[in-house]
Symmetry: C2
Subunit: 334 residues, 2 copies
Amino acid sequence: MNLILIGFGNVGRALTYILWEKGDRLKGLKLNINVTGIFKSDGGFIDHNGLKLGEILEKGKQHQSWVPEASPLSYIAELPCDVVIEMTPTNVKNGEPGVSFIRKALEEGKDVVTSNKGPLVVSMKELLSLADKKGCFFFYEATVGAAIPIFTVAREFLKHDRILCIEGILNGTTNYILSRMSEDKVSFDDALREAQEMGYAEADPTYDVEGIDAACKLVILANGLMNMNKHLSDVEIEGISRVTPEMIELAEEEGYLVKHIAYLDEEKMEVAPRLVPKNSPLTVGGTFNVITINTELSGSLTFIGKGAGPRETASAILADVITIANKRGGIKSG
Amino acid sequence: MNLILIGFGNVGRALTYILWEKGDRLKGLKLNINVTGIFKSDGGFIDHNGLKLGEILEKGKQHQSWVPEASPLSYIAELPCDVVIEMTPTNVKNGEPGVSFIRKALEEGKDVVTSNKGPLVVSMKELLSLADKKGCFFFYEATVGAAIPIFTVAREFLKHDRILCIEGILNGTTNYILSRMSEDKVSFDDALREAQEMGYAEADPTYDVEGIDAACKLVILANGLMNMNKHLSDVEIEGISRVTPEMIELAEEEGYLVKHIAYLDEEKMEVAPRLVPKNSPLTVGGTFNVITINTELSGSLTFIGKGAGPRETASAILADVITIANKRGGIKSG
């Protein structure tokens, strides 16, 4: 099975490392994985016969396979390729460059796996229809909750069931900040600074703290799990910057924690600070994410996992790749 | 797709009801399900052309399809049947009558789904090998944590990963008792009596309270998720009957809850009361079950759901049936 990787940041590198380090384990699954192209914004590593991943991780652009200015748009059709893995940075304004890469891949009849929320927030229905029309798989398990297998469970376990509503904590940074404010009486500003120092939050923290990231994930859950056609503008969003230590303390006296909850049902999509009873599964702390789906037949199911992290995200991508390999009946030729 | 149901207690009835009530939804999945036999201990409802499930739920043994003394052992080979669903009561001593029914079904080349822990605790490896030899599917998602999709996730999402250890709360009754003792300062005896009155605990509560039920589920997790060959005698078991309100109070003063934890790694299998930090996902209360799997690549993943309940259990069975239908490429003829 031939793969093209687009994006070689933290997630792309982690995936490359796993493919290299766990090659024998994957062969044990009868998966013979070959990576024929790895693209960065300024060029790509290219080898029609399969890249030597260990060497690329070690040498970077010094490696002989490096082609400056090579763009995936011209190589997707040319290189041997069964699955295109799109891991460029999230852009929630127009989804680019991810949308163009995914569209091109699907148009060429390639299966696609992505960890990039941007294209889904902007053009999810269009891309899913295109995949359907072309008979391609288009999976995106890694976009919400990293290695929390929420879309896999919906696809493989809940086909006969009906999801009534979904709620959860979809952003690890805000959960870290609120947990620190609650458990250790730290102020919002100090907790945010800590999160930035530990690499959880971006230098511009607006995206996390104002709830945009969580709202993006809620859109993907709505469209992916409840067959809706929602966009970011459909979500009522309130961030956590106005939460004070006093509010948290008052809530705790009454048996509640303040959590940044994303909520979705057929009527409403909302991201906002909410009071959660202390014995609820939604009280999980630290940088964890949690997703509860309430179903008609299977009751309430809750999933908790690291919501971010290159290794966890790469693991979810690889799970999607293996699912495609199985659904294709093993190795499909490029 | 033709099904035979063995067992018509709470779970068997709930499954029959769902198959009847949600028939249209299943047809929407291109699943045309026909039930040709439903067996109780003293006979069976039989119709080669497919039973009228609504009528059977209403009329019981008064229905014309009732055949007294009919045994699945003589009908499995004779009736049109793709999947045998085994739901007889759990017997952890010798697994009967479930083992015989499952063995017969596999020998006849039928796929099997079970909610019965007994056959797995006693003969899991034998039955899995037989299924393998016969090219049959043998799924058992409903046996642990009802609708918590732990085996589905392992099969469809973690093939490339490695499970390092598993811990969880696998019995809803003991979790209910400990939660009541902790949250409402009720004594062990009173909490147990309540659980019995509410139908959570059996009249003889030993099986739950002494940890046997949790240990059975741990054996199934060990063999099903970590490819071991374990039996009940491999589990160190300590029940919760010696836990006192004073122990719980002392623990809480230090930031812990007392929970009945099942633990499994390559070295050890144990069910015992343990101290769990208050911010751990393992602190979930009520009759909920929780399972945390620690993996090499996907990090720590936690699953919480109702650990019991006829509808949730039947839902997990139906998910297994649909998985088989998909893996068989839709409808296989009987």
